[in-house]
């Protein structure tokens, strides 16, 4: 009756696990293989710390883009994470299940809207609002952060809702029975019990924010500038890759892949900081 033995299942699962992971590794290797030679040729210091990006003159400095990437990601997290987690808490604690069964799929719909559509909304609606009220060109760090913040909402909200709903009812009842208000219960019990899922949602959301290209290209303005205010136009590392890849050949193309390598390192650093920082805050609570 049994087709595969228990040991066989384990081996099979191990193979799938490692094939999935090696597919992901392959991508990492691919980027490094295409980009690393350029860094050696051009010099890491010059590449990282020069502010001069003029591919036609053979000048490839990505410092402003690193700074911009960090700011835009931080901005997006400031917009998306609190809104998303708050929304998830409210929806799962205060809203009846039947309503949530409609709202949650609808929020996940936002994940399927092509990022180009977000880009157009940014250019046509958000940028003019920023320009008319705050000045500057409108297409800016601020616009990029807001659009990205909105784009990560479905990821943050959906995954958080799941982990909040997975908190056993007895925890909540225990807290409420001790005379805690709903908010105190959320604050002291629910968040703590579901923190692993909330962290995962924020980190996946951050991944989406760093990795998003099309929408950022359209709304952030793409000047290779170290931003001095949120109203300045900026170019992120991802934008740089997607923006120029379609015409890039030779050294220029390699430089774009090298941008990918640096991006990868930035992601690693950001992920480490994020997981440590979030975990610390959560633990304090």
């Amino acid at each position: 009756m049994k087709l595969i033995s228990e040991k066989g299942v384990k081996r099979l699962l191990m193979i799938t696990a490692f094939s999935a992971i090696s597919a992901l590794l392959l991508i990492a290797l691919f980027i490094i293989n295409e980009g690393l030679p350029f860094i050696f040729k051009y010099g890491l210091k010059e590449f990282l710390f020069s502010s001069d990006w003029q591919p036609h003159l053979g000048k490839f400095g990505i410092y402003p883009m690193i700074v911009a990437s960090l700011w835009v990601t931080l901005g997006a997290m400031l917009v998306g994470a609190p809104l998303g987690v708050a929304g998830a808490l409210f929806l799962s604690e205060y809203v009846p299940k039947s309503v949530m069964n409609i709202i949650k799929p609808t929020i996940e719909l936002l994940a399927a809207i092509p990022s180009v559509v977000y880009g157009f909304i940014g250019v046509m609606v958000l940028a003019p609002i920023i320009r008319d009220n705050f000045g500057g060109p409108g297409l800016s760090l601020l616009a990029g952060s807001i659009i990205l913040g909105i784009m990560i909402l479905p990821t943050v909200i959906s995954i958080s809702i799941d982990s909040i709903l997975a908190v056993p009812r007895s925890y909540r009842e225990g807290s409420l029975a001790l005379g805690a208000t709903t908010w105190q219960t959320i604050h002291m019990v629910t968040i703590k019990a579901s923190k692993s899922g909330i962290i995962a949602s924020i980190i996946l959301g951050m991944g989406r924010a760093i990795g998003e290209t099309m929408a950022v290209i359209m709304v952030a303005g793409n000047s290779v500038n170290i931003p001095h205010s949120p109203l300045d136009s900026v170019r992120t590392l991802t934008a740089n890759i997607a923006l120029e890849m379609s015409y890039a050949t030779g050294l220029h193309r390699q430089a774009l892949f090298a941008t990918g390598v640096i991006l990868f390192i930035v992601i690693i650093i950001l992920n480490s900081i994020a997981s440590v920082a979030i975990r610390k805050r959560m633990v304090k609570k």
Binding site: N101, V125, D162, S196
Partner: protein
């Protein structure tokens, strides 16, 4: 000074509710923005005829097919891979440095821009493996792209299944796989479905990775080795090359209506499944 719990309660409800309302308003605005521009062009003819005159006239029929096939293929490949991986990581191995590194690596890859996945797919599937611009190249590339999301969400869902269920199942003489199949996966289903829906969304909305791997041919594919164009790519080309804003938004509106139907029915099916079980 200590604030009375009743006030913090009220304040918290106001803040959380406010954030939720703001989020929902943004959501509604985006949907209305697209529908308002797109609905006027949608009719039966638009859905069932081929694009004409560079996409300025005619419909979007071939892109409907691409939009169904590509994400479906990606999901079919990535879902078992992702779920099995997370099952392996959470049920079959002890928490070690290796699993931590794997998890961290997965998180990092979730942040790789889709264009990189596209270029990778282009060089690996399209050129090296010789699949050409095709549904299969695109599906495989998208599958790799959504893997991190599926792995992480499934893992979180599996983690949230109470430990006592596992103990009971084992104590009743279940093997690990029987426990996974009968207790863990069914109870982790809501979380897994969330991951799948987010991934479906991501692969339906994706452009860069698709253009480089599945191509953007408007012909109706006759095999998985043929190229295809998804609605997102169609929107991308029409809107970015400034060909036809009307048809671009018509495509986007069709897309969100289709996705909404898919999402709602997936959740309806899931809830029915859960209700039937208990």
């Amino acid at each position: 000074m200590r604030i009375h719990p009743r006030y913090t309660q009220g304040g918290a409800v106001a803040v959380l509710g406010g954030a939720t309302i703001l989020t929902l308003m943004i959501l509604v605005f985006i949907i209305f923005f697209i529908l308002e521009k797109g609905l006027p062009v949608i009719n039966l003819n638009f859905l069932t005829s081929n694009p004409e005159d560079m996409g300025r006239a005619g419909g979007i029929f071939p892109t409907l097919i691409g939009t169904i096939l590509l994400p479906l293929l990606a999901i079919i490949i990535a879902t078992p891979l992702g779920i099995f991986t997370s099952v392996y990581l959470s049920e079959y191995t002890k928490e070690t440095k290796v699993t931590k590194v794997i998890r961290f690596g997965t998180d990092c890859l979730a942040g790789i821009p889709s264009i990189i996945f596209g270029l990778f797919g282009y060089i690996f599937f399209v050129i090296t493996l010789g699949f050409g611009w095709s549904i299969i190249s695109g599906g495989l590339t998208l599958a790799v792209m959504i893997l991190p999301t599926i792995i992480r969400t499934s893992e979180e869902a599996i983690k949230s299944v109470p430990k006592s269920y596992r103990e009971v199942s084992f104590s009743l003489g279940a093997t690990s796989w029987q426990t996974v199949k009968k207790v863990i996966l069914p109870n982790a289903l809501p979380g897994i479905v969330t991951g799948i829906m987010l991934s479906v969304g991501r692969s339906i909305g994706e452009t860069a990775a698709v253009i480089f791997t599945a191509g953007s041919s408007l012909r109706i594919p006759s095999s998985v080795f043929d190229s295809t164009r998804t609605m997102a790519v169609h929107f991308y080309i029409l809107a970015r090359e400034g060909i036809s804003a009307e048809n671009a938004y018509g495509t986007a509106a069709t897309l969100i209506i289709a996705v909404l139907i898919v999402n709602l029915s997936a959740y309806w099916l899931m809830n029915r499944f859960i209700a039937k079980r208990s």
